[in-house]
């Protein structure tokens, strides 16, 4: 699992898991967002957003 910032979308994060990729809203009740926060707390850093697109 890897996370990646989304260009011009400060309120969401992209996750990449093999062929899967998805968009997680920064919504406190969303369990994927909670998992992302935990991942950050563990000292991880998301990949930067692509310049052109995602």
């Amino acid at each position: 699992m890897q996370y990646k910032l989304v260009k011009n979308k400060p309120n969401q994060i992209m996750y990449i898991n093999g062929n899967w990729h998805g968009i997680i809203p920064f919504e406190p009740a969303n369990r994927h967002y909670q998992e992302y926060l935990k991942w950050l707390e563990e000292g991880n850093t998301p990949l930067p957003a692509n310049e052109e697109n995602n």
Binding site: K9, Q12, M14, Y15, N19, W20, H21, G22, I23, I24, P25, E27, A29, N30, R31, H32, Y33, N50, E52, N53, N54
Partner: protein
């Protein structure tokens, strides 16, 4: 009520006439009106558990090599696992005969662990929204008891633990016994109401139901917590057998019902569409029904990006995480969709959905975004707990 002479034109019934057993058989006129709010209890939607008959399995009907926690097959139920074996989980047609069930959940041990580490565990779980549980009156003198009923079939016999856990780390456990190997058995457990604590009136966790299937000593070394109390790990699964101790072990469950009151009623079967729509609140997906299954109509606002509106089938619990696998493309317009999701304005009801990273689009032109000859294509919306 006895009478002498002409029968009175109207004799009011009293509660005594009903409770003393005088009325043994009576018909209600087909034209009679019944005031529903005079009926006590909660006859419809009394089952707090969603998909308790394991009828809905949107994600998969079988998943092998499970060693980590997650939602895998039947909707709304998740498996929590740490260290205790490797499993194939499936939606099974093995059901108790003659009770109306068509599906069960099966756990099949494929790699055993007969010597769990202290922190190991395996459990089957459903989490309930707090806003649906306020009628339990938790934290008041009128707190309502809950009765859990279910059918279970297990190769491994012995003591098992069922547990309720609230969102304030209070819990209560009960043990039950699987008596006969590989035989469907019906179990009922009544949990007392909790006169302490609270359940938040939100879309977040209000209560969690755990079926323990194995546990290390961190969860078994104390005394089983059989009254509502602040949860202590050592008291949560005392006596629990380890169903991961042999690859011969299977475990099945269906007909899971959790309801207010001190007795179990018949399982509340819901129509398939009702059951499915209740599950949609937490998870749904598009794809797999045709090679070019349509997603939505999109408009190009540049050469590489297109966007459109996507309405969810029901209001979701929270704004969902949206994910995609497989190939999609646009039909019409001049561009080709890129590989990435474009999501914005994501709410519980709908989102702005399109593709980014394409090429050849012309601003203002419209297209249909669809699977690109790919039945494995999936676009999922996940708001599970």
């Amino acid at each position: 009520m006895p009478f002498i002479g002409n029968k009175p034109s109207a004799v009011p019934l009293t509660s005594a006439d009903i409770t003393d057993g005088i009325i043994t058989n009576a018909d209600i006129s087909s034209t009679a009106g019944i005031t529903l709010n005079k009926l006590s209890g909660n006859p419809s939607f009394r089952n707090i558990v969603i998909n308790g008959d394991m009828q809905i399995a949107q994600r998969n009907t079988s998943v092998a090599s499970i060693t980590t926690s997650g939602y895998r097959t039947v909707d709304r139920f998740t498996t929590l696992i740490l260290g205790l074996g490797t499993w194939t989980q499936s939606q099974s047609t093995d059901v108790p005969s003659g009770y109306g069930f068509t599906s069960s959940l099966k756990m099949d041990c494929t790699t055993a662990n007969a010597s769990p580490s202290a922190s190991d565990f395996l459990m089957f779980r459903q989490i309930f929204e707090g806003q649906n549980l306020q009628y339990l009156k938790k934290g008041t003198a009128n707190a309502v008891s809950l009765t859990l009923s279910f059918w279970v079939k297990s190769t491994k016999t012995g003591t098992f633990i069922a547990e309720l856990f609230d969102n304030n780390s209070r819990g209560i456990c009960a043990s039950y016994t699987v008596s006969t190997t590989n035989t469907w058995e019906f179990k009922t457990i009544t949990f007392a109401g909790d006169t302490s604590g609270t359940i938040s009136n939100t879309n977040g966790t209000g209560l969690t139901l755990n079926f323990w299937l194995g546990a290390g000593s961190n969860f078994t070394s104390g005394t089983l917590n059989t009254t509502w109390a602040s949860s202590i790990n050592a008291n949560r699964a005392v006596g629990q057998v380890n169903i991961a101790d042999s690859t011969a072990n299977d475990w099945f469950i269906t007909g899971v019902q959790l309801e207010a009151g001190t007795s179990a009623t018949d399982f509340e079967f819901l129509p398939f569409d009702v059951n499915l729509n209740r599950c949609f609140r937490y998870y749904h997906f598009l794809g797999g029904e045709s090679a070019y299954q349509n997603v939505n109509t999109v408009a190009w606002f540049g050469t590489g990006d297109c966007v459109g509106h996507f309405r969810f089938p029901v209001t979701m619990r929270t704004a969902p995480a949206v994910s995609k696998t497989g190939n999609w493309a646009t039909l019409g317009g001049s561009g080709t969709a890129g590989v990435s999701l474009g999501i914005d304005q994501n709410t519980t009801k709908n989102c702005q959905l399109g593709a980014t990273g394409g090429s050849g689009g012309t601003g203002g032109q419209a297209s249909t975004l669809r699977a690109n000859n790919d039945t494995s294509y999936r676009l999922t919306f996940d708001a599970e707990m």
